[in-house]
């Protein structure tokens, strides 16, 4: 076997963030290499550099032993590298064949029939099932993926990169895909596959390379490793953060999520039979790989996501009654004191309006309460000034558009506003994303203060170290199912890491119920 592609000391930085730090990688022909790592460990960035989308800051790439420079996707094609992106790059109103030949120029006369014939040949060779004349918008997700794979094969690629190909597939479709990939390996192609799922890594690949926070951890032969070793490599060593954590006090049931399922428009289950209980006076962490259903879960509680099955019970501390949130509008849920502060990827997407100033953004929550037809600006203004002072928001004034504030300050404004209404349930999703250490600690302290006040805090986080030190209990979610509920004081990173990559459902047992 010969080495197909080799990376040496590849480094890539975005601003001050180091996405890849001296990463080395080697794939032979006729071999499947898995790249394993948590979110943000730099897997996709690394692959994008092979595919010509990014250019490395330094380091070398060798193909068949010769050093090459890949500046664009076209260069990558020339070296017979094909990448199947996580988000498909297909034109909806085109047929499979039209998409496959898009951008190909030196192929003689434009002849769709001949191209369709060739697509058929490739499909038969590797055992795909595809109608070359079918329009993309009529296709299922797995068919679209097949088109993407044929697209790179049509271009003659013999080094294939697949970025989380199984994330969107059902187990049966995954098995089919793996069969095809094995066939390709046997015909001498080099295959790199990015995935989070440990059992897939173990069942499919020949070698595994692990990245952790942009650093290259190591490569092991799949035959000589096991889940525990891989998890350990993936999550890295434990870091102590010294977040003050008080013991939960006066715990009462506040929010009960019972067997909740949600579906998207295509009928795929985003949440599958999710059950847990959130208590007052504790911080409940939610851990999981990005896109496993965290967002849907919070939205379901806030009334923004339609629940197809199950109930969410809210125990009202003021009246002592129990309400089913399922039948309530988002506004009613909010009035009950259930607050959602969601920091999405683009930060300003949900919750704040970028072009409006801090005062106006405060009013988004309170404008209904005004008397008469004119808005009342005094109270929101004093609230805005309080938040600026207490949370040390760095801003020229309360009248500066939120868009102009830095990420950390935007998040402080958002969290501050939700806290100001003295909630009984506070949900914070990724509240420290993109923040520096000091701002992060401000947010942690805020959440802890709320906890001490008897609020049920639900914290969705990415960093396992933070989850372990901040939360009292951690719910682990994988592919829309709850894969485990653990005590944050006694668990380990490895345990959570393993649970994150599992897909079997876990049912809450009674021991944890009384925690």
């Amino acid at each position: 076997m010969s080495v197909a592609i080799e990376l040496k000391d590849i480094t890539k930085t975005f601003g001050s963030v180091v996405a890849n730090d001296n990463v080395c990688l080697k794939v032979d022909r006729g071999e499947i290499l898995s790249i394993l790592g948590e979110n943000g460990s730099g897997k996709t960035t690394l692959m994008n550099m092979i595919a010509g989308i990014y250019f490395p800051d330094h380091g070398q790439i060798f193909i068949d032993g010769e050093e090459v420079v890949i500046r664009s996707p076209k260069d990558a094609f020339r070296y017979k590298i094909g990448m199947i992106h996580q988000h498909f790059k297909l034109v909806d109103v085109f047929t499979a064949t039209e998409n496959i030949i898009l951008g190909l120029e030196d192929q003689g006369k434009y002849n769709l029939k001949k191209a369709a014939q060739r697509v058929k040949e490739i499909s038969e060779q590797y055992g795909f099932e595809i109608d070359p004349m079918k329009k993309i918008y009529e296709m299922s997700v797995s068919e679209k993926q097949t088109v993407e794979i044929i697209k790179v094969l049509y271009r003659g690629a013999d080094i294939l990169i697949l970025d989380e190909p199984t994330a969107v597939l059902t187990p049966q479709e995954t098995q089919k895909l793996f069969a095809v990939l094995r066939k390709m390996r046997d015909s001498g192609k080099a295959i790199i596959i990015i995935t989070h799922k440990l059992h897939e890594v173990l069942s499919l690949s020949d070698k595994v390379s692990v990245l952790c926070k942009g650093k290259y951890v190591g490569t092991v032969n799949t035959a000589e490793t096991n889940e525990n070793q891989l998890t350990e490599m993936m999550v890295g060593k434990k870091v102590t953060l010294n977040i003050d954590r008080s013991e939960p006090k006066n715990c009462e049931k506040r929010l009960e999520v019972c067997d909740v399922s949600c579906m998207n428009r295509e009928g795929v289950k985003l949440l599958d039979d999710v059950s847990f209980t959130a208590y007052s006076g504790e911080i409940l962490g939610i851990a999981g790989i990005a896109g496993s259903g965290q967002r849907e879960l919070l939205e379901a509680i806030a009334g923004l996501q339609h629940i197809s099955e199950g109930d969410i019970y809210y125990h009202n501390p003021k009246t002592g009654t129990t309400d089913d949130l399922r039948d309530k509008t988002p506004l009613e849920i909010r009035e009950l004191g259930v607050r959602l502060s969601f920091v999405p990827e683009d930060r300003l997407g949900m919750g704040l309006v970028g072009n409006m100033d801090i005062v106006d953004n405060m009013m988004l929550r309170s404008y209904r309460r005004g008397k008469g037809m004119f808005l009342e600006r005094k109270k929101p203004k004093s609230l805005a000034e309080d938040i600026i002072k207490q949370l040390e928001v760095v801003t020229p004034s309360a009248n500066t558009p939120v868009r102009r504030l830095s990420g950390g300050n935007v998040q402080k404004v958002l969290v501050g506003r939700e806290i100001a209404s003295s909630p009984t349930v506070l949900m914070a999703a990724y509240p420290v994303r993109g923040l520096d250490i000091n701002s992060s600690y401000t947010i942690y302290n805020l959440l802890n203060q709320q906890k001490d006040k008897g609020v049920a805090v639900i914290f969705v986080g990415e960093d396992l170290d933070v989850l372990l030190e901040l939360c009292d209990r951690i719910v682990v979610i994988g592919s829309g199912r709850i894969t485990g509920i653990v005590d944050a004081r006694t668990t380990t990173k490895e345990e959570i890491g393993l649970l994150m990559t599992k897909t079997e459902a876990y049912k809450e047992d009674k021991a944890h119920e009384n925690a």
Partner: protein
């Protein structure tokens, strides 16, 4: 009389056909050019300027030059307008609607300014510019048209630009549907990120399509002034530019459908002179002029109900593309 009606309908439809073919090509690249009315106006006045100065600089006009000079000037004028639009919306990624509307206002201003200036230069005291001689050359048609009765009237009685409009529309339809260039252009308009990843130069396609579209649209203005009217008067072009944009929707982004659509629109536009309804004065007859728009709305309703993906506008129409914004 029916033959004469069809003939007039076709002649009325030709400026719309030029405009809509140009706009379809532009929109297929993902750019909604609302500057088309202005560009057609500029196309018209540019031709008039060329024709005017040629007419006044020689004693006896050469028929070939009398056609080629306005033709070239018109193409140049509308190309410049197209380049302004491209620079703003493709390179600087300005808002396409605002840019287009501004360009329409600008184009009409330019046209009226030069129209007024030329009127003064001609010194006849008239409020319009006569292009009688050039118009005769433009209108030159098949010599045998008269001998064929109604067939001749309907099919062979027009100047060359009428046939040119139909040919351009047919060629555009063929290129869009059956060639690699068409496939790639459509990909750019549907999903520029995908086209980019496939190694297509997105900005080049946008520039070329928009500029070519502008030039074709500009010919519509030229045809209207030099061939159809034979005289330039300020604001004489009316709402034909907007009608051309409506025709794009009517034709569901297919230039070959646009040919028939333009004749239909032309017919609807002049039908009021043929139908006499008692009690309808000149003012009321203007109501008929809204018929093309009514038909367009009906087409919009029908295509929206049918939800056929192929008859929807290009998916990224009106959106600027910037590679780093993934």
């Amino acid at each position: 009389m029916i033959a004469a009606f069809i003939q007039r309908a076709i002649m009325q439809g030709i400026p719309l056909l030029f405009g809509s073919t140009g706009e379809i090509i532009t929109e297929k690249s993902g750019h909604l050019n609302l500057g088309i009315p202005g560009i057609m106006y500029v196309g018209g006045i540019s031709g008039v300027i060329g024709s005017f100065f040629y007419q006044h600089s020689v004693e006896q006009m050469n028929p070939v030059l009398a056609v080629l000079i306005p033709f070239g000037c018109s193409l140049l004028g509308s190309l410049l307008m197209g380049l302004i639009y491209c620079f703003l919306t493709v390179t600087l990624r300005a808002n396409q609607n605002v840019t287009g509307l501004a360009l329409t206002t600008f184009g009409i201003g330019v046209g009226n300014f030069f129209g007024g200036s030329l009127t003064k230069l001609s010194g006849t005291g008239a409020t319009s510019i006569e292009l009688t001689q050039a118009s005769i050359y433009f209108k030159t048609t098949f010599p045998f048209a008269d001998k064929l009765g109604w067939v001749g009237t309907i099919f062979f009685s027009y100047g060359f630009m009428v046939y040119l409009a139909v040919i351009i529309a047919l060629v555009a339809a063929y290129v869009l549907k059956r060639t690699r260039i068409g496939l790639q252009l459509r990909a750019v308009g549907e999903n520029p990120a995908t086209a980019d990843a496939a190694g297509i130069n997105v900005n080049r396609y946008k520039y070329v399509a928009t500029c070519a579209g502008s030039m074709i649209a500009g010919l519509g203005g030229l045809y209207y002034v030099v061939d159809y009217m034979g005289v330039w008067s300020n604001d004489g072009f009316g709402d034909r530019g907007w009608l051309a944009i409506a025709l794009v929707i009517f034709a569901v982004w297919r230039p070959n459908v646009g040919i028939l659509g333009s004749f239909l629109f032309g017919g609807l536009y002049i039908v009021h002179t043929y139908i006499q309804i008692p009690g309808f004065g000149i003012a009321e007859q203007e109501l008929f002029k809204m018929l093309p728009y009514v038909v367009t709305i009906i087409v919009l309703v029908v295509t929206s109900i049918r939800e056929k993906r192929e008859s929807q506008p290009p998916a990224s129409l009106g959106l600027a593309y910037f590679r780093e914004e993934r």
